[in-house]
């Protein structure tokens, strides 16, 4: 779309009485290969090309979207047309923030992509004869966006992302269990040059085999140690969503009006950072065109900030934080997490377990969810062990952990020295988004564990 057309649309919005107007143009190409053990079940290519128009008047929002080429129809909804206006708004010169990549996805033969999946299957099944299946998904995406708004902002970006997700299936008698891995990346196909696929395949297989011998544990309230890595999803659910303007600006968060208060253990520092190079949850600019940044949300237990988009900022009287995101042009952007993690502390990983007479060690998780208004969250465990007399004894399964964010943040009594971030997806108000979640090993004094 020509710059003059963008300027025209934005001018029409302002002339119609709105005080902020935005155009989001998206052209996305996605490849998705699905391998079910030895069979390549699907190969999809998707080309999305669309436009989202957003108009704000104070804290009211009006959003229209449609496939590309429909801007005339969309403007009819506003009872206007694309005729050229006088005193047209002027956009700044285009700022292109795209990252250079070494291997463009379109230049890679589909066979090469498929080979990744076949390798995962072979390596996973070779781990143990009880492995009966290995389902894998390859995903790559090139999303070109143009974002322009009535402040004169005019940004172009291309986000290249790829991820490999594998789920192992193990069976012994009537018992069927699963394990999974899912490394992702911001960048091109070069991600796979150095990725240790064998280690990932074997990790998924190992997890399923461990769970075959896992037993059911009695539920109750007990100390819980959550291992480093994607276990950080605990904090994504427990407090991350409650710190998004989506909840805070409506008064639907337990953290409303609490900046500067001690809301967590002084051992905890929680950060959301969409600017980390190469991470699956990263992007150069957010979906309102603002450069992503490191946002410290909680520092040594003190609430320091929220994740804020333009509309949320208007409602809260605060500045945006580069946190506006949307799955595609059909969604209006709103505040969402990027890579959310707990910073490293000073405690020894092994000692956290040795100190406990009885408790639960969570090595891997599956997924979770939260009610931001009450802070009530739940967190489903993928791999866990009982802790008895300072030792890991037996694997246990079928467990969920629940609590409220406000309480759990204060229950942390040990934070390990080594943070790592895992990759996943988050479903919320503006669709499904790629995110990172991470932490060092962390111990909580008490959590409610559901078992049988």
């Amino acid at each position: 779309m020509k710059k003059s057309t963008l300027e025209n649309i934005l001018t029409i919005g302002l002339d119609s009485g709105f005080d902020f107007c935005e155009v989001f143009l998206e052209k996305k190409r996605m490849t998705r290969l699905v391998q079910k053990t030895h069979e390549t079940q699907q190969a999809n290519q998707e080309f999305l090309h669309g436009i989202g128009l957003r108009f704000l008047k104070g804290t009211e929002e009006y959003y229209l979207s449609g496939a590309y080429g429909d801007e005339e129809r969309l403007l009819k909804e506003l009872k206007t047309s694309l005729e050229t206006r006088e005193n047209k708004l002027s956009l700044k010169d285009s700022s292109d923030v795209r990252l250079a990549i070494q291997k463009d996805f379109a230049s890679i033969d589909l066979r090469e992509k498929q080979q990744l999946l076949r390798f995962m299957t072979e390596e996973g099944l070779a781990y143990d004869p009880r492995l009966v299946g290995m389902d894998s998904l390859y995903l790559d995406m090139s999303q070109e966006v143009i974002i322009a708004n009535s402040t004169g902002l005019y940004v172009t970006d291309e986000r290249n992302k790829t991820r490999l997700f594998s789920q192992s299936i193990a069976q012994e008698g009537d018992v069927i269990e699963r394990g999974w891995v899912g490394p992702g990346h911001l960048g091109g196909f070069e991600f796979y040059d150095d990725l240790d696929l064998k280690a990932y395949a074997r990790e998924a297989a190992r997890m399923a085999i461990v769970n075959l011998s896992a037993t059911y544990a009695e539920g109750g309230v007990m100390p819980v140690v959550v291992d480093r890595g994607f276990g950080g999803l605990l904090f994504h659910e427990a407090c991350g969503h409650s710190l998004e303007a989506t909840s805070v600006s409506r008064g639907s968060s337990e953290f409303c009006n609490r900046l500067g208060e001690e809301v967590a253990s002084p051992l905890l520092t929680l950060v959301d950072d969409g600017s980390i190079p190469g991470r699956w949850g990263s992007l150069q600019v957010d979906d309102e065109g603002m450069k992503t940044q490191r946002n410290v949300l909680i520092e040594k237990g003190i609430l320091k900030g929220y994740l804020i988009d333009i509309l949320g900022g208007r409602r809260m009287g605060m500045e945006p934080t580069g946190s506006a995101r949307r799955e595609n042009y059909t969604f209006a952007p709103t505040s969402r997490m990027t890579n959310t993690f707990i910073e490293a502390g000073q405690d020894d990983d092994e000692q956290m377990i040795k100190d406990l007479e009885k408790g639960l060690f969570v090595k891997g998780i599956n997924a979770g969810s939260v009610n931001p208004a009450t802070g009530e969250f739940n967190f489903n465990v993928g791999e866990a062990y009982l802790i008895e007399q300072g030792e890991l004894t037996k694997p246990v399964k079928g467990l969920s952990l629940i609590g409220t964010g406000g309480d759990i943040l204060k229950q942390v009594d040990a934070v390990g020295k080594d943070t790592s971030i895992g990759d996943g997806f988050c479903w919320s108000a503006s669709g499904a988004l790629y995110i990172g979640a991470g932490q060092p090993r962390i111990r909580l004094k008490r959590m409610m564990v559901g078992g049988r």
Binding site: K36, T40, Q41, Q42, A43, N44, Q45, E46, F47, L48, H49, G50, T59, E60, Y62, Y63, L64, G66, A67, Y68, G69, D70, A106, D109, L110, R111, Q114, V132, G133, D135, I169, D174, I176, E177, G219, G220, R250, S252, T330, A332, N366, A367, G368, S369, N371, T374, E376, F377, N378, F379, N380, K397, G398, S400, I402, M448, V449, G450, G451, R452
Partner: protein, 408 residues
């Protein structure tokens, strides 16, 4: 050159009311998605939205055809069955109606606020076409979702509910029930009961069954995602249970599936005995093959699951039992392969003629065991939905589930 096409047309009006502060409308009209398949044997698809297929797409499709395992994709008998596109229900006054209903109910429940309200009217159509044959399917959906908030001192409770409705006149009773439910939960406690008798409300039973609907799908069974593989004719549940997929019913109704097979009622469990699984053509059956997001191959899916009701009024079942009305995080806390679930829940304890609100409890069990442990069914059923499947399930009395809470 491109023989098969499938087009999905969606027309959606959404009306939103946030906190009664402003009335905004979002509008998303006729997003056309076109799926193109190179020929009958290629399991490769290209999804185009908003533009013509570029040359490189055609090239990729040809390359993909060489790459992928060739498998015969039958497209079923060709017949034409075109239905008229339905009219959307009128929604001009729905915002005002909800506001006035909420104001009236606030007099009775002063601590409760209608925090958010969404109304979505959609007509969703799928057109399958091959050569000159064409089948079109339209369903009409009227969905209402609400967020209620209740506060007292520093206590907060929220309730999110979503309903498919036939008519706006149904709103009043649904809203009143929800106001009462959230009002009670404000004083909810987290109480530990251990293994105990549990009654799942019709809504909670529907959502739980919806999250395990895939255990009846042949493709999921083949991939070890269900324990019902090769169990046809076995007793898998209480003899009180008869469960049927009725694809001509509900908000997602279909008379033809995405493989051009006419859909029919399909009994899944009859008086406790497992019947034939739902299938698509790949699994030597058909009638339940649907595309997810226009993917190239179909997956098996139910449309509208109905469980035959019992004869006991719900009130009679609400005695000396933990009554679960709401689950949190169903997508995270259920495992269809093993059947295990562990879910944060809300509801009430009916004990010693008292009704004690419960929240912050964890209810755990195994779905396959639960089916066998059903002791009674209510005669009432409500419409619920989960994952694109609608359900009408009675309240279910379960012999024993684990209920974990803080207070012993």
């Amino acid at each position: 050159m491109l023989k098969q096409t499938m087009t999905e047309l969606t027309k959606v009006h959404t009306t939103e009311l946030f906190e009664g502060i402003f009335d905004a409308k979002s509008y998303q009209e006729t997003i056309k998605k076109l799926i193109l398949t190179e020929d009958d044997e290629a399991s490769y698809s290209v999804l185009i939205e908003g533009s013509d297929p570029p040359e490189e797409v055609i090239h990729d499709a040809l390359e993909a055809q060489k790459l992928l395992k060739q498998k015969k994709k039958a497209w079923g008998p060709s017949f034409s069955k075109k239905e008229d596109e339905p009219e959307l229900l009128k929604d001009e006054n729905i915002v005002q109606k909800m506001e006035s209903l909420a104001k009236e109910l606030q007099k009775k429940y002063p601590s409760v606020t209608l925090k958010e309200f969404r109304h979505r009217s959609a007509k969703k159509g799928t057109i399958l076409a091959s050569g000159e044959d064409e089948v079109s399917q339209w369903s009409r959906q009227q969905e209402v979702s609400i967020v209620l908030d209740t506060r007292e001192d520093d206590k907060v409770e929220t309730l999110w509910k979503s309903f498919y409705i036939h008519d706006l006149s149904e709103l009043e009773s649904l809203l009143e029930e929800s106001f009462e439910e959230v009002s009670n939960l404000l004083h909810g406690k987290s109480i530990h009961y251990g293994k105990t008798k549990v009654l799942l409300s019709s809504h909670a039973a529907g959502e739980l069954l919806g999250s395990y609907a895939s255990v009846f799908y042949s493709d999921v069974q083949r991939r070890k995602g269900s324990k019902f593989q090769d169990r046809e004719g076995s007793v898998v549940s209480s003899s009180l249970i008869t469960l049927t997929d009725r694809p001509h019913q509900g908000p997602f109704m279909r008379t033809v599936d995405d493989e051009w097979q006419e859909t029919k009622d399909h009994v899944l469990i009859k008086e406790g005995v497992l019947q034939k699984s739902l299938t698509n053509l790949e699994d030597h059956g058909g009638g339940s093959g649907y595309r997810t997001n226009l993917s190239p191959s179909t997956e098996v899916k139910a449309v509208h699951l109905e469980m035959d009701p019992g004869k006991t009024p719900l009130e009679e079942l609400q005695s000396d039992v933990i009554y679960i009305t709401q689950w949190e995080g169903l997508f995270a806390g259920t495992n269809p392969a093993s059947g295990d679930f562990s879910l944060q829940s809300k509801g009430f304890a009916f004990r010693d003629q008292k009704k004690i609100p419960l929240k912050g409890i964890l209810v755990s069990g195994n779905f396959y065991d639960l089916l066998k442990d059903i002791e009674a069914l209510s005669k009432e059923r409500t419409l619920s939905s989960y994952g694109g499947v609608s359900l009408e399930i009675p309240a279910l009395l379960i012999k024993e589930l684990s209920v974990i809470g803080e207070e012993k």
